[in-house]
C-alpha cells in the first residue's frame, strides 16, 4: 500500500492527550528538563491542563518530606536564635531501599514573631512561604498579630493553594500559652496562591470569629481545614472550614474517651489526615497507646474507634504525620514521628512497626507530593518565544 510510510509511527504521531498521559508519569524535575525536547513538548508541558493533570496523578505517588535543621546561629550569649539552616530532603517509601535524598537548603532568618508550619506541601516559616517542589521562597504579605497558626489546603481542580491564618485579637496576649481556661477571641484571614502567582499583596480577612482558650492541633483533609481547640479547662472541640468556598462548618465535639481525666492532664490529642479521612488520635503516655477515632459523619458528629496502636517501650511523644497507601494494595502505612530521630511506619492491618533510618537533626517528616506549581511567575525567554507561535505549529 502507498500509505505504509504514514503507518510507521513515532512519538510525534501520539495524540496530545496520550503524550500528556505519558509525561505526567515522570518526576517533576525530569518533566521540566524535557521541556527543551521540542517546541511541541514545551507547549504541552507548560500548559495549565498538563499542570493540573500532573498534580492530580501525583496524589497517587506520595513520598515523604524530611526537614532537618543542622545548625543555628545565636545572638551573643546564646540568648536568641538569629538564623538557622533548613535542609529539605525527600524519601521514597514505596521502594525497599529507603534513602534520604537531599533536595536543597536555605538560610532561615528568625523573625521577631517566629513561626514554622508545614501543611499540604508548603513550608511557612518566619513570614515566608517555601514551595519544596520548585525551591521558591517568597515573602508573605504582613499578617495579623498575634499569630496562632498557618494551615494550607491544596485544591487540585484549579491548582491553587489556600493559606488560612488563625490569629488572636489582643496584642498583649500570648495565645499559644493560654493554659488557663479563659476564652479568647480568634479570627481568620486567608491568602489564595495561584499557579504562576503573583502572591496577593494582602491577606483577606474573614468575618467569622471563634471563642476558645487555645488551639491544640490542626490538619487539612479533602480541602477542609480542622482546628482542634480547647474551650475552658477540659472541653475539646473541632472547628472546621471548607476552603473552596471559605465556609465554616458546624463545630464537632470530640469523642468521649474512658481515660478522659488523664487526657485532660496531658496535651496529647491530635488530628491527622488518614487516607482522606479525619482521624483524631488520643495518646496516653501512661498506657503507651494511641487510640484512633475516625469521623464517620460530620453532621451527626459520629466517631468510630477503629484502631489502637500499642507504643510501649517506643518513646514518650508521638505524632501521626500522614498515611501512605501501598501501591496496588488497600492497606498502607501510617507515618509516625516519634521525636528524637525516631520515625516509624505502622501497618494497621498487620499491627506491625517498621523503623525508618535514623535521621539527624530532624524536625519534621510527613507526606510530600511532586507538584507543578509556581509561587510566582518566572517567565522564561523560551516561554515568551513559544507563546508567540501559532497554535498548530509543532
Amino acid at each position: 500500500m502507498d500509505n505504509t510510510m504514514e503507518l510507521s509511527s513515532n512519538i510525534m504521531a501520539l495524540p496530545c492527550e496520550v503524550l500528556v498521559d505519558i509525561l505526567s508519569r515522570l518526576s517533576l524535575k525530569h518533566v521540566h528538563q524535557l521541556q527543551t525536547v521540542s517546541k511541541k513538548w514545551f507547549r504541552t508541558i507548560s500548559s495549565p491542563h498538563f499542570r493540573r493533570l500532573y498534580n492530580m496523578k501525583s496524589l497517587n505517588r506520595p513520598r515523604t518530606l524530611v526537614v532537618q535543621v543542622p545548625n543555628a546561629k545565636y545572638s551573643p550569649g546564646r540568648r536568641k536564635m538569629i538564623s538557622r539552616t533548613i535542609d529539605i530532603s525527600t524519601m521514597d517509601l514505596a521502594v525497599d531501599n529507603r534513602e534520604i535524598q537531599k533536595e536543597f537548603s536555605f538560610e532561615d532568618i528568625i523573625a521577631p514573631e517566629s513561626s514554622f508550619f508545614i501543611s499540604s506541601n508548603l513550608i511557612i516559616s518566619n513570614h515566608k512561604v517555601c514551595n519544596p517542589s520548585t525551591k521558591e521562597i517568597i515573602i508573605l504579605p504582613i499578617s495579623s498579630y498575634p499569630s496562632v497558626s498557618f494551615d494550607v489546603a491544596y485544591i487540585p481542580s484549579n491548582n491553587t493553594y489556600k493559606i488560612v491564618h488563625l490569629y488572636g485579637t489582643k496584642i498583649s496576649r500570648k495565645y499559644n500559652f493560654n493554659y488557663g481556661g479563659e476564652l479568647l477571641e480568634f479570627r481568620f484571614e486567608i491568602l489564595t496562591l495561584r499557579d504562576g502567582g503573583p502572591i496577593p499583596s494582602s491577606w483577606q480577612p474573614l468575618p467569622h470569629q471563634e471563642w476558645f482558650s487555645r488551639k491544640l492541633d490542626s490538619t487539612c483533609v479533602n480541602n477542609v481545614i480542622y482546628w482542634l481547640v480547647r474551650r475552658g479547662d477540659i472541653m475539646q472541640n473541632i472547628i472546621s472550614m471548607k476552603t473552596e468556598n471559605e465556609e465554616f462548618l458546624s463545630t464537632i465535639s470530640c469523642p468521649k474517651e474512658p481515660y478522659d481525666e488523664e487526657l485532660s492532664l496531658y496535651e496529647n490529642t491530635q488530628l491527622a489526615d488518614l487516607n482522606g479521612k479525619l482521624c483524631l488520635a488520643y495518646y496516653t503516655e501512661e498506657l503507651s497507646r494511641m487510640e484512633l477515632y475516625f469521623l464517620k459523619d460530620h453532621k451527626k458528629q459520629e466517631w468510630v474507634k477503629e484502631h489502637t496502636i500499642n507504643l510501649s517501650g517506643m518513646g514518650n511523644w508521638f505524632k501521626i504525620t500522614g498515611y501512605l497507601p501501598l501501591q496496588g494494595n488497600n492497606n498502607g502505612d501510617i507515618i509516625i514521628d516519634g521525636g528524637c530521630k525516631l520515625s516509624l511506619l505502622y501497618n494497621i492491618e498487620e499491627e506491625r512497626f517498621k523503623r525508618l533510618p535514623n535521621i539527624k537533626e530532624i524536625t519534621y517528616i510527613g507526606l510530600y507530593f511532586d507538584r507543578c506549581f509556581k509561587l510566582q511567575s518566572t517567565r522564561s525567554s523560551l516561554q515568551a518565544r513559544v507563546d508567540m507561535l501559532p497554535e498548530g505549529d509543532s
Binding site: T4, N10, L14, E17, Q33, T36, V37, L382
Partner: protein
C-alpha cells in the same frame, strides 16, 4: 449489513491497514469502547481500521483474548503476559499505544502509557530526542538560555543511553 452468526456467537471481521482480515468473536471487541459503539449502534459485521498495521492488530487481539480469559486464579499469569506484551521495540510499543488510544481500550491504554513512561524515565533530553526521532526546533542558544534561567531543573546527571 447483518451480523453473521456461528451457533450462538456473533462473528466480526476487523480489517487492518494492509487489508489483512481478522475474524473474531464479537464479544471480544466489546472491550474497545470505539468498536463496541460501532457494533451496537450500526450492527456492522466488518470494520475497516486502515490506520492500524496488521502486526499491531495481531498484538491487540492477542491481548483482548488473554484479557477475556482473566480470572482470579490466573492473575499472576496475566501479569506476566502483560509484561511480555510491552516488551517490544519502542516503535512497536508506540504503534500499539496509538492504536489502543484510537480503539479506546482503557485498561490497556493505561498500561501502555506507563510502559512508554518507563522507557523514558531518567533519560536526558538528547536521549529522548534520539529515542523518539524528534528533531529539536530550538536553537542551541535558546536551549542554553533556558538552562540558565531554570538551573535547578538541570542539576544532576541523566541517562544518555537510548536503550
Amino acid at each position: 449489513m447483518a451480523s453473521s452468526t456461528t451457533g450462538e456467537k456473533k462473528i466480526l471481521t476487523l480489517k487492518g491497514g494492509d487489508n489483512e482480515e481478522f475474524i473474531l468473536e464479537e464479544s471480544l471487541v466489546l472491550q474497545s469502547e470505539l468498536l463496541k459503539n460501532m457494533v451496537k449502534e450500526e450492527r456492522v459485521s466488518s470494520i475497516p481500521l486502515p490506520s492500524i498495521k496488521s502486526k499491531t492488530l495481531v498484538k491487540i487481539i492477542e491481548y483482548l483474548k488473554k484479557h477475556a480469559e482473566l480470572t482470579p486464579s490466573n492473575k499472576e499469569e496475566f501479569k506476566n503476559f502483560e509484561k511480555e506484551f510491552v516488551n517490544v521495540v519502542l516503535e512497536e510499543l508506540l504503534d500499539i499505544t496509538v492504536a489502543v488510544n484510537y480503539l479506546k481500550i482503557n485498561g490497556l491504554l493505561e498500561f501502555c502509557c506507563q510502559a512508554v513512561a518507563d522507557r523514558i524515565k531518567d533519560k536526558s533530553v538528547e536521549a529522548v530526542r534520539k529515542i523518539f526521532r524528534i528533531e529539536s526546533d530550538f536553537t542551541p542558544e535558546e536551549e542554553s538560555e533556558f538552562r540558565k534561567e531554570t538551573p535547578e531543573a538541570f542539576e544532576g546527571d541523566l541517562d544518555d543511553t537510548t536503550n
